[in-house]
Amino acid sequence: MYFEEIKVGHSFPNIKKEEITRIQLVKYAGASGDFNPLHTVEEAGEQAGTGIIAHGMLIMGMTAQGITSWIPRKYVKKLNVRFKKMTFPGEVIQISGRVLEKKENKLVVCEVFAKNSEGEVKVSGTFEAILPSKEKVS
């Protein structure tokens, strides 16, 4: 992938994740070290009035997976997201993205979204990548 090949407005192919399960939340809790009981303990979810909710950072991780399936990890330099809505076990997340801008020094700025099947935005953000150029570097 070269800087010259990227077009502003280009949409990356949607990445559809598998349904989020409670087991996945247990795995993510252990992997990340986020043991907030809201993500794994039924009673804690009930007490909060939300039920068990997914870690926002898990959805950001899925967002990052989408990005690095489009652009090699090596080139991605920055990712910024906002957490918009809670995500629940049973939901299916899709990652979509689009090129917003091309800048100097082979920098591309893109937007990215994690949405559920109904199109509700869970995470929205932008990322930046520095791509190699076809031009010979002197």
């Binding site: 992997a31 950072m57 090596k74 910024n80 997201v81």
Partner: protein, 150 residues
């Protein structure tokens, strides 16, 4: 906290944690990210990495396992756990981070804003963390925004 602005400048005690190959694999598997660069040295090298690199959101592992857990962080900032939301998160990479690296983190509260949002009044508390590797190179900067609902 009587005046949330007083949080500005609060620094966390620095902490260090090693980036572990097995932990990278565990983290990628939990997300369901099957990118081979996180599992296999050869695949990582084909993409131009020296060793196995970290996923874009992996630094949360360094923070939570190596530094302050969520509860400890809340205590440090004297915030009430029940009305806190994670609003925003940013990672910026200045250099590659690899399995085997030992990262040292310094973090402090850099900004506190009070706003009226759709959920009513809220404070936005920004913490900036800097990650330095064993060679003394600044490799990454993260920004975390916590929302305290009034």
């Amino acid at each position: 906290m009587s005046n949330v602005k007083e949080l500005i400048g609060i620094e966390y005690d620095p902490y260090s944690f090693e980036v572990e190959k097995g932990k990278i694999k565990e983290f990628a598997m939990a997300i369901g990210d099957d990118n081979p660069i996180y599992y296999n040295l050869e695949s990582a090298q084909i993409e131009g990495f020296k060793r196995i690199p970290i996923p874009l959101t992996y630094l949360t592992v360094i923070d939570l396992w190596g530094g302050y857990g969520f509860q400890e962080k809340m205590e440090k900032l004297k915030l009430n756990v029940t009305n806190i939301l994670h609003g925003e998160q940013e990672y910026e990479f200045l250099k590659d981070v690899y399995a085997g690296d030992i990262l040292t983190v310094t973090a402090k509260v850099t900004k506190v804003e009070t706003k009226k949002g759709t959920l009513g009044g809220m404070d936005l508390i920004t913490t900036e963390s800097k990650y330095t590797n064993q060679n003394g190179e600044l490799v990454a900067i993260s920004k975390n925004v916590l929302i305290q609902l009034h």
